[in-house]
Amino acid sequence: MTASHPVFASFGGAIEFIFTPQSSNVTGGQSVGGLSQTIELILKQLEVTVLALALALIIALPIGLYLGHRGKGELLAIGLGNAGRAIPELALIALVAALIGVGLVTVTPALAILGIPPILTNAYVGVRQVDRAIVDAAKGIGMSELEILRKVELPLALPIVMGGVRGATIAIVATATIAPLAGVVTLGDYIINASIYGENGRLAGAILVALLALILEFGLAALQRRLTSKGLRLKTA
């Protein structure tokens, strides 16, 4: 390759780092990077993201849907959503590491804390904004409360509920990047420990984290389209 622009050169170096192990001057001869370590870190980041998202869903989704269905607890559902955005991610991870301990068991709930507010708020708002006339009609044909929630409100609320899930996923996968500070070695290790992985490693980490987040977002958007009932698809397209 001829001498190219330094920007392209650094991106080229990063791509090389992802696929081929490189020598590092602080690990004592042990090489770093390469495909096997990269895959290992990607899987770790996916693991902690999926676990935290699942935990956030288990906690926030039923509460949000229930509050929306009953039309109660607006202050909790909306207020918590607003307050949740103010949590500084770095402080959260650092505190969990310093006070409770490091590892998957402590980081997963910490990341779930970031996912709960958007899911809770959107589940609440999604169900609340369903036309009351439709709910009354469902009652009129003899549906039980649970049937109304499951067959009427949830399908109509789905785009907004999924919006919350997507927001939660973005927040969680982004913060999972700094999880190495709390002992969960994700892709962020390439970024945070640049002294070990070098400039190429750091840029490689940034590229991979960005791609991972985009893939998750596009995947969830596709899932949302599939889950949205056919009648609604035309309207929301």
């Binding site: 330094p6 920007v7 650094s10 991106f11 607003n82 955005r85 103010a86 949590i87 500084p88 991610e89 770095l90 402080a91 959260l92 650092a94 505190l95 590491a97 310093a98 006070l99 973005i170 996968v173 982004a174 990047t177 700094i178 500070l181 962020g188 970024i191 945070i192 750091r202 840029l203 980490g205 940034a206 590229i207 984290v209 960005a210 987040a213 985009l214 977002e217």
Partner: protein, 247 residues
């Protein structure tokens, strides 16, 4: 108001006579089981001043930049409808890329420091501000627009005198979300060498010393609420007609 003499005397008392510097009064960094060290906090509170100011600067500059760009994009898309899907997708991509990754994607181009942090944080706010501005403009009732046109307003007058004022609550709601999120995310700017409260969280030894993390995180949360309150006041001030309507 305490007289200078009394303050000086109190200082002497604290230092000399009653408060001998025994091992118990050492900073609690030596005692890792301590959650919050008040002595250390009292002695070192001044070291949070500069990072807090840097943090405010980061937030104000990036939200302002984000607002200018997103607002311009929204006005453009308002006039040229075909731009809406691509702009939504573009801002969505910028919103999705985690800030810490975005910092280092830009590093080869813009280098270490505040500029890179501001660009990334501004890029993150685009989607929120753009979407809310479009929502606000879409929520203006057609009847109002028809009435304005009937009174002889041009399209430009209609936009600036009718549509945008009526869209102000949604626009400011977007700004509030963007600002509060940016205050939180700006703690990560420490990784790109842009200073801010993150320096007191992720600094030498801070990760294992909760007191500094708690203070810096607390200042961040407080800052978010203050910004939020100020924007809420701005919204009230710019939309006086909403106050007379019964909620």
């Amino acid at each position: 108001m305490a007289s200078p003499v009394l303050v000086a005397a109190a200082g002497e008392v604290g230092k000399g006579f009653f408060h001998e510097r025994t091992s118990e009064s050492l900073p609690c960094q030596a005692k890792p089981d301590e959650v919050f060290c008040f002595d250390w906090a009292r002695d070192h509170i001044d070291r949070f001043g500069t990072p807090a100011l840097q943090h405010i600067e980061l937030v104000v500059f990036s939200v302002l930049l984000g607002f200018v760009v997103a607002f311009a994009l929204a006005l453009l898309a308002h006039r040229q409808g075909w731009l809406r899907p691509p702009l939504l997708a573009l801002t969505g991509v910028l919103y999705t890329i985690p800030s810490i990754a975005f910092f280092f994607l830009l590093l080869p181009i813009t280098g270490l420091g505040r500029d890179t942090a501001i660009i990334v944080l501004a890029a993150y706010t685009l989607q929120i501000i753009y979407r809310n501005t479009m929502l606000g403009l879409a929520n203006v009732p057609d009847s109002v627009k028809d009435a304005a046109r009937g009174m002889g307003l041009t399209e430009r007058q209609l936009l600036w005198r009718v549509e945008l004022p009526l869209a102000t609550p949604e626009i400011i709601a977007g700004l509030r979300i963007a600002t509060v999120s940016t205050v939180a995310i700006a703690t990560l700017a420490v990784f790109i060498g842009a200073g801010g409260l993150g320096t007191q969280i992720y600094g030498s030894g801070n990760l294992t010393f909760p007191t500094s993390v708690i203070i810096a995180g607390g200042i961040g949360i407080l800052m978010a609420f203050v910004f939020d309150g100020l924007l809420l006041l701005a919204q009230r001030a710019t939309t006086p007609w909403r106050r007379v309507r019964p909620a």
